[in-house]
Symmetry: C2
Subunit: 660 residues, 2 copies
């Protein structure tokens, strides 16, 4: 009767060989990284995890996040052996060993790195840009905690990958929020891509770091089935001690096949001619370990997948309060009635509070800025639905991805500037199709005194590229929303949360006049005409967003006095319905001036691209104003706008130059 | 005779009061954070550091990096007390107490956060976007190590700030490279912006973390002059132990003034009417500590600034080898002669090697990708000038900023995708005016099999916004360079290193035909015409970059067979001289098709903006092709290009639609 160890070795070798065949067929990939995980993946997917192979996205099941995405062939191999549902050409069927031979093909859901949106929903998020998986796991655990659900989240991290600071942001976050349903498994095969790992990423150092970060750390032999099993069992003890568990697994890159071990074998697939030799080496290793004696019946006896827990209860959302109802509570109705000044960030905060009372699926995140972003009221009154992420924006964004994958609607807020700490994480969120809501406050130069280190200036250009990408839902992969007043910020926040895809809301800091009635709607992709050119003078359209809408309105007043008539557009949404804007421009003088207080690449580019696409006749001329020098501190928004050549008088001059 | 402690208390209170007055005059700022550093800054700037107040940028002097930039008023106060050279309206003079009253004004070099380029060169880099300073300090130390110079680098980090993962990337980097000239001082005042710091950022936890990261950690009372002095003295012992020193300082936010201590006082300046009371509290604290007995002569006796060390020797650069000379060494001459295929990343690697032999000021950095970026040859042969940053891109970019501030030319390479880990750090580098050279390989979708997690897609849109910003040198704050073959990659790398401002070179992965002769020059801002429309058929201009130049040439061939004549432009540089391109387009058919394999926001936007600006008559029509769906893995570049509707046939169809 073969032992437990022999049985696990047999399965590990079986899926290891499948991973080798797949990467050889693909002509690329990471067979050696895959082999270093053969036993850990066997223990997790065949014994430890509660899940349903036929329904891999089952919301009650344990989750596995492969942070070192390049090792994915070993998971594909296990899925093919088990028979997991995937979606070739969008139609579901069970993965087979033959399907593995399509690894990395353009028509195959088996991408080079985990990529759920191309048809492999076993994964909750795209990984492969390293250092992000543990944060995604933390988000999945946070969503489960909100639901009081007992699922476990396993995350596999590479040792070289553990150099990424985001890993340590996630270690802090998980420990602080007692997310003990997360188990972090460090795969220490001692090889990075170009060299051995640094002393800072060896098993002993990683264990010492994990302990210093408040985790219980266990160092095990990652190829000893009993050690791996016993380590995973200890997560219950760790939970009692209210510490998350980190398993530091000593592994061998290219385990079982000596000819592909050691330096020089990272990301190298085995050639067709070498493959038989390497497979034979694995068989020989199996014989040494007595795995050859294992019968199918032994495998069935020991390797049984446990069913998932029941799915968490789904919560119904109610109609959120109107801004005046919220404002009443906040003693701000007067501000609205009298159109006193109120900041868009305040409008966002009010809307988030309204959602807290009406929509139990909304989960708030902030990066120690909640008293500036105005998420503080939500944080105070909905503590079970709020996770303070501290000053660690990369982790916050990837946590949001995990929360979205867990069926919730994460709203993550901080200064827009600081969201640019997490652009790579945002790109991966978009690849994942994650329905996340990002809120950047203090956008543009009008924050004034704090200076450029706090100003979001590159955000629109960065997000607009993705806003012109169509996602799996058929719409923009992300929608950029810029609020010009507190009412639009309020309404846009409510609409953003109901929108099916990712959004980025820009809510500026300054108190500005209220421009809209509270029941105004802001359809995504459209714009608002706030002032119509009148009379018979020369005409132009001024398209602006955020604070610059107010400057544009002032400029229009001055221009009116000089017999130039400006139609003022609040371009609150990107991508924009430019056809409609171009019709308006054709009717209103055939000249467009765009005004933004960020760097080049926003509505100016959006409109210029549309104009340049038009057939030659009656194309409006477009001048764009944006930030084209490096800003600095100034005591007032106007000081900094003047420094950046964006004062009302600059707009007036530019408009005159355009139509004159 | 007053004690040492009494004398330091007296000075700390004196500069603390100046910081208070300055922030009250500004009506904003961080007086309480400033007071928590009063003693540490006094010890550093008046006693420990070797520097020259009249020449704060002296290259032999010790450096102070204030990572928690918001605490800057205490440094300004010390500089005003000492009389440090700054540059109001660009002219040098010594800072006075009166100048402090201009804090945060638009015309003042005293920005809300350290901002050397507005006239305060005491600082080496702009800080204030948190978590970056320790990496900058590491870069300054790395530059000093290359120069065999003995300067010390002091870095002050906030406790809440220590949540940023980049801090721990820097801790690893400094320990691994034995940069023991860096002293990290954690200012533990226990208050973040919106709350007390987390348990993970308390003094004991930070000390345990620092030790786990290979540092010697000392916990001290940050307001006890003797403890602070003795802790700083221990850096020599730490160096003997080959460990960098981390001083974990217990401090009080709002030290000396009880009425502004505790929660709610972050980022709040004292009102004019409260100021006398708060100043009186500081005086009272001084009396309790016996600081009132201190005479000017005592101050002069104890607080003497030591002069800097001699400046490091400047190294002369020689003419670098030509690519064929390098290629000869690399047995690649044949590839060039026969125009065999060669990858642009390989051209970059050859150029970096040539620079290693010819320019001792070039310092190489890579993030464990050196065998893929081809910086490996430089790393092997110029070990004293190369710093392996491992998988930690944020730290790498900020280290490059420090190396540039140290007088070297950092060339930092990794996958373009992974540079988007560090966009915020790049923005801060641009604010700093840092002359850094960033190299992103594997750009665009043509990497194929590895899939979208490894593809740089947002990079051009992000960088282009800054490329349209004019920096203090009067040119583009950053120049984007895209190599379409190995020769252009080689030449652009050499030219990039001689260019005075920041550059971002995009060097794709695939082997592509060589398009240029080795002595071709590539002036920044220009473009190359690779094929001229001929004959009498319909005409258009196709502007492309990188891999898409090759697709455009193939498309032009096909179009020629269909009586459509295409002029093909290699748009290798952004910003671009669009006037010249528009003249070319006017002469060659009045239609432009742009082709890029990244997201929207690159040369398509650049050209569309120029066209839309033109007066109405004869404006060319512009169609832009870019990546507008989410890519996936495919075995060949062509597979993925077809998936993204960027195949040669797609270009042909688009061209026909444009001119037909």
């Amino acid at each position: 009767m073969p032992t437990f160890d022999q049985i696990v070795h047999a399965k590990a070798i079986q899926i290891g060989k499948l991973a080798l065949r797949a990467t050889t067929a693909a002509g690329s990939g990471h067979p050696t990284s895959a082999l270093s995980l053969a036993h850990i993946v066997t223990q997790l997917m065949y014994r430890t995890m509660r899940w349903d192979p036929e329904n891999p996205q089952h919301r009650g099941s344990d989750r596995l996040v492969l942070s070192e995405g390049h090792a994915v062939p070993i998971i594909y191999a296990a899925c093919a052996d088990i028979g997991v549902t995937f979606y070739p050409e969008g139609k579901p069927r069970l993965l087979t060993a033959n399907d593995l031979m399509t690894l990395r093909e353009i028509s195959s859901p088996l991408d080079g790195h985990p990529n759920p949106r191309v048809g492999f929903p076993f994964f909750d998020a795209a990984t492969g840009s390293l250092g992000q998986g543990l944060s995604v796991a933390a988000g999945l655990a946070a969503a489960a905690k909100v639901d009081h659900h007992g699922k476990s989240i396993f995350c596999i991290i590479g040792d070289a990958e553990a150099r990424e600071g985001q890993i340590w942001e996630a270690m802090d976050f998980i420990a602080e929020h007692d997310l003990t349903s997360v188990v972090a498994i460090f795969n220490c095969n001692q090889h990075g891509q170009s060299d051995f790992v640094a002393p800072a990423q060896t098993t002993d150092t990683l264990a010492a770091k994990a302990e210093a970060f408040g985790w219980k750390a266990l160092i095990v032999d990652g190829h000893d089935p009993t050690e791996v099993r016993n380590a995973l069992k200890q997560r219950s003890e760790a939970r009692v001690a209210e510490k998350p568990l980190a398993i530091i697994a000593r592994t061998v890159k290219g385990w079982g096949a000596p000819s592909i071990q050691g330096p020089g074998h990272h990301a190298v697939s085995v050639s067709e001619q070498d493959l038989p030799k390497v497979l034979a080496e694995l068989d020989a290793t199996g014989m040494e370990l007595g795995a050859d004696a294992v019968q199918p019946s032994d495998l069935q006896r020991i390797l049984r997948i446990l069913p998932p827990l029941p799915v968490p209860h789904l919560h119904k959302a109610q109609r959120p309060a109107s801004i005046s109802e919220m404002a009443e509570n906040q003693k701000l109705s007067e501000a609205l009635e009298t159109a006193k000044k109120l900041s868009p960030r305040r409008g966002f905060g009010l809307a988030l509070s309204a959602l807290g009372h009406s929509n139990p699926n909304v989960v708030g995140l902030d990066a120690d800025m909640k008293n500036s972003t105005y998420s503080a009221d939500f944080a105070r009154h909905h503590q079970s639905h709020f996770f303070e992420c501290r000053i660690a924006e990369q982790n916050m964004v990837s946590v949001a991805v995990g929360i979205a994958a867990g069926g919730k609607i994460p709203v993550a807020s901080t200064f827009g500037k600081f969201l640019s700490r997490a652009t790579n994480q945002i790109e991966m969120a978009i690849l994942s199709g994650a329905n996340i809501k990002l809120v950047g406050t203090h956008v543009g130069v009008t924050i004034g005194a704090d200076g450029p280190s706090q100003m979001a200036l590159t955000d629109v250009a960065f997000f607009r590229g993705m806003a012109h990408v169509t996602d799996h839902r058929g719409g923009p992969a992300i929608t950029i929303l810029t609020a010009s007043d507190a009412v639009s910020a309020y309404v846009l926040t409510l609409e953003m949360v109901n929108w099916p895809s990712a959004c980025y809301l820009r809510a500026l800091r300054s108190d500005v006049p209220v421009l809209y009635q509270e029941h105004e709607t802001f359809p995504f992709g459209k714009f608002k005409v706030l002032r119509k050119a009148m009379g018979t003078g020369k005409k132009l359209v001024i398209a602006a967003c955020g604070y610059m809408v107010h400057s544009a309105l002032k400029a229009a007043e001055e221009l009116h006095g000089q017999n130039i008539e400006a139609t003022v557009v609040d371009a609150y949404s990107l991508p924009m319905d430019t056809d409609e804007l171009l019709q308006l421009a054709a009717a209103e003088g055939g000249a467009i001036l765009t005004v933004e207080d960020c760097y080049t690449g926003g509505i100016g580019s959006e409109i210029a691209e549309a104009v340049a696409r038009m057939a030659k006749n009656d194309r409006p001329r477009v001048e764009s104003m944006a930030v084209r020098n490096l800003p600095k501190s100034g005591k007032t928004p106007e000081d900094v706008l003047a420094y950046c050549h964006l004062a009302v008088s600059d707009i007036v001059d530019k408009a005159k130059g355009l139509v004159g």
